[in-house]
Structure formats: C-alpha cells, structure tokens
C-alpha cells in the first residue's frame, strides 16, 4: 500500500502561481465544438424511446456534468485562475446540492421518481 500523494500540495501551489495563462482562440473553438457535439448527443436521446429511464437519465446527467465542467474550467477560466475562486464557487454549489437533496428527500421525491 504505497502512499505517494503528498506531492500534490506542491503542484497545487504552482498551479495557483501561473494564473492568467489563458488559452488561444483556437482552443476555445475546440471546446465549443465538444460542447456542440455533447448537446447534439443529448438532444438525440429525445428520439430514443426504447431506452429505459434507468439508463437514459444517468447518461443525460453525465453529459450535463461534462458540459458544466467544460464551460466552468475553460470559458470561466477556473482551470487557470487562482484556486480560491473555485473554492468559493464550489462551496455554493455543494451547499446548494446538499440543502436541496435534503429538501427533496423530506418531500419524498425519490420515492415518487
């Protein structure tokens, strides 16, 4: 059981240092292309009537999260900016997810489906 994970703190620090190294316009077009393909795939599922919800919903959720990640990381520059910005944003996101997961559980949303 080797534990060689201590080095990440050093690399995290150096990540913070090289903020504002924003990507090229070509890269932005590539990201937009990926987002367009993912959106097309999402929309295509609308016509797949034979696929059961147990498979379809997780697939849609995964594509949604990937799109979210690409916009936040590349277009909002979270990948390149100081990690404090990400911490503030992710804190709000996690707080909202936890609060409303509890809210939906209290109202028995998961049982109703």
């Amino acid at each position: 059981m080797s534990t060689e994970t201590e080095h990440t703190t050093e690399s995290d620090k150096s990540d913070d240092e090289h903020s504002h190294e924003h990507p090229s316009d070509k890269k932005y077009f590539q990201i937009a292309g990926i987002l367009a393909i993912l959106t097309a795939l999402e929309v295509a599922t609308y016509w797949l009537e034979s696929v059961p919800g147990e498979i379809l919903i997780p697939v849609l959720m995964i594509m949604m999260v990937v799109k979210f990640f690409y916009v936040a990381a590349w277009f909002m520059h979270l990948r390149f900016d100081n990690s404090l910005f990400m911490k503030f944003f992710v804190s709000g996101l996690i707080l909202a997810s936890v609060v409303y997961a509890i809210f939906l559980t209290v109202f028995e949303f998961w049982h109703k489906g």
Binding site: D25, F29, E42, M64, F75, L84, F107
Partner: protein, 198 residues
C-alpha cells in the same frame, strides 16, 4: 477610473471585484437550486392543465439551447480580443453575444406565448407555476446580461473600454457563462429527462 492588476493592492493579492463575483455566483447556485428542486417536486402535479410531456417542444428548445451555448464562445472571444488590445474584435464579439442572448430571450417569449395559447397559464397548476418561475427567472438573468453586454459595447464604441479594463469584461463574462451553465442544468433536467404526460 482605476482598474489595474490588484496583486499589490489587496490583502489576498486577488481582485476583490472578481472574488465578489465568484461569491455572488456561488450564492446564485442556491437560488436556482431552490427553483429547480421546486419544479422537480411539482412537475407531476398538472391538475386539469397540460402536462409537461404534452407541451414541451424539444426541437425548438434545443435550438435555443445551442444558441445560448454558442454565446459563451463569443463571450470568451470578446474577452480574449480585449486582453490582446484588439478593441474592434472585442466590440464585434460583444455585439454577437448580446444578439445571441436576445435570440434566446425571444425564443423564450415565443415559447411562453405558445404555452399560454395552449392553455398553460402561470396559475393553471403547480407544475405551470414552478415552470414559469424557474424559466422566467433564468430569462430575466439573460435579459440583464444582454443589457450589461450592450452597455459594454456602448462604452467601447465611445472609446472607454481598453485593455486595462479587461477585468470589467471578464466579470460580465463570468456572469454570462454562469447563466449558460444554469441553462445546461435546466435544459437537461426540465426538458430532456422524460416528463410526465396526461
């Protein structure tokens, strides 16, 4: 009008404006989380009115979603142009982003009026109230974004938006991308996940 690098001016070494914007966006997650959760609770309660599965026009909304998604590209290109000192292209991409946003809002107005004609008003059912509140709030955010973008465009056209003020464009850009991210959620959860039919 001060807008230089904030590394020496602030306690964190980071721009307070930018930090404030990220805190604001974090808090917006709670607002939209509440609206999305409420919609999920009420989507099956359509009383005698139309059900979501009967009324949603997925091909039309897909086009609107694509338009908003591509506006995120044009927004980041506007920022990129200004950071290079290319004010002409900055104006071009700002205007394009505002136009794409206006097309999205126009599509939403068309969708709302179609629903009204088909008998889905704000008070028709718990589903309709939750739906109009959620998508309406998002629409207001996009509309505000269009106003911000147009004010940036006018500022640039008057010669007041230079490379040194790129952070102003970046802050509006963060807001704009957030609005796009929220729609990514709404489009999947409200429109694409199979909805109840009557």
């Amino acid at each position: 009008m001060t807008n230089q690098t904030h590394s020496e001016e602030t306690t964190t070494g980071l721009s307070h404006n930018k930090l404030g914007m990220w805190v604001f966006l974090g808090s917006e997650c709670l607002l939209f989380g509440a609206l999305i959760s409420t919609y999920l609770l009420y989507r099956g309660r359509f009383a005698d009115g139309p059900a979501p599965g009967d009324i949603f026009d997925i091909p039309f909304t897909s086009v609107s979603s694509f338009v908003l998604l591509m506006s995120s590209l044009t927004m980041v290109l506007a920022l990129s142009a200004l950071q290079r000192g290319d004010e002409r292209n900055n104006r071009l991409w700002l205007l394009t982003t505002a136009l794409l946003g206006a097309v999205f809002v126009g599509g939403q107005v068309y969708e709302f009026t179609t629903f009204l004609r088909e008998g889905l008003g704000y008070t028709t059912s718990p589903f309709s109230s939750a739906f109009f509140t959620l998508t309406g709030f998002h629409g207001v955010h996009v509309s505000l974004g269009v106003i911000f973008l147009m004010s940036l465009y006018v500022s640039s056209a008057r010669g007041n938006l230079h490379k040194e003020r790129a952070e102003t464009v970046e802050l509006i850009g963060l807001y704009w991308h957030f609005v796009d991210i929220v729609w990514i959620f709404i489009f999947t959860v409200i429109y694409l996940v199979p909805s109840p039919t009557s």
